[in-house]
Amino acid sequence: MSRFNAFLHNTGERLALPKATRSLILVEIASDLEELFNHYVQQGLSEEEAAARAEEKVDMSDEALTELVRIHSDARTWTDRIARRTQPFWERFALALIVLFFIAATTLDHGMRFFAHLTVFIWPIICILLALVVYFIVQMMRFSDHQSPRRLRDSLATPLFLGAASLVVGFAGTGIILYRTLMRMAADPEHAAPLFANAVLGTTTTLAIALVVALGAGVAWFVLAGRVARIEDDVARAFMEVK
């Protein structure tokens, strides 16, 4: 960073942001400092005067720094922190849960009988699962293009949305099925018990699948968020290595 080292170090010290974000901001400031320096030198100022004028022009007030920190410290900061710190553990844990669930579901109750009880609400959940799989594959392909980590990060809300949608469908479906069953039980009290048993079987299996899809969405988010964080770190490191 040559002649502006001290200035950039001082600015960086006052930027209470994650390393990757702080590095990118400092690189932006550094390039503007250099350009301003060249501009003032071309105007006839000595190198010392030009450097001083450039620093004066780029100097950031505490208010401006606070504003920058606020802009970059939005809601996703806490999710970033979770992704960076717990990703390996949560990935393994959630993946193990999913695998165990499917093994248990398909073997303990003579295989496909578990799935025979599913309600009609399984179809939107399957659609959500397919959307999640397509999104995950597309995102993994986009990781080969490291040009815009911001764009990659902006799309990270999708798996969380899909996971939430799966839960909403699962719970709403449970409510609707139970309501309809209760109405039928009131109309036909003699068959109330089997009707209720069927409803509980159907809703719990469907809800269980919805929860697994939501869990899968969470795993997809952890994996992708971790990847984006690594790309951001790589970009920041690469930029800081310039000159």
Binding site: E28, A30, S31, I71, H72
Partner: protein
């Protein structure tokens, strides 16, 4: 077009945003270019300290009105360049209308200067 009202409590901020968006309407610029060009085009009336420029640029970017990208000219340092997005063009139009309404209202009260 959706009616946009200026933040009268923070006119300077709205003014800075409008200046940046309008300058970027002519093409992508680097931060330092924006500051110098605005100063030049306004005959020195709007002098930008870069310190105030970055928060505005980053805010406009997080709102999707401008998009930043890294350019690496041969043999030169990587530089952050900003370009106006479609959403930014729409926002600029809304801001122009808002400024026109604002000044019209202002002149209605204080009157226009004699030619």
């Amino acid at each position: 077009m959706e009616k946009f009202e200026l933040e009268t409590q923070n006119l300077a901020r709205s003014c800075h945003e409008s200046l940046i968006l309008a300058t970027l309407a002519d093409g992508p610029r680097h931060g330092y270019q924006l500051a110098l060009e605005i100063e030049d085009r306004s005959d020195g009336s709007f002098r930008f300290n870069h310190g105030t420029l970055y928060p505005i640029l980053h805010k406009l970017e997080s709102n999707g009105f401008i998009e930043g990208s890294w350019a690496e000219p041969a043999g030169k340092r990587k530089r952050r360049q900003y370009a106006l997005t479609e959403s930014g063009q729409e926002h600029l139009k809304r801001m122009r209308s808002a400024w026109s309404r604002y000044f019209e209202s202002l002149f209605n009260v204080i009157g226009r200067s004699e030619p």
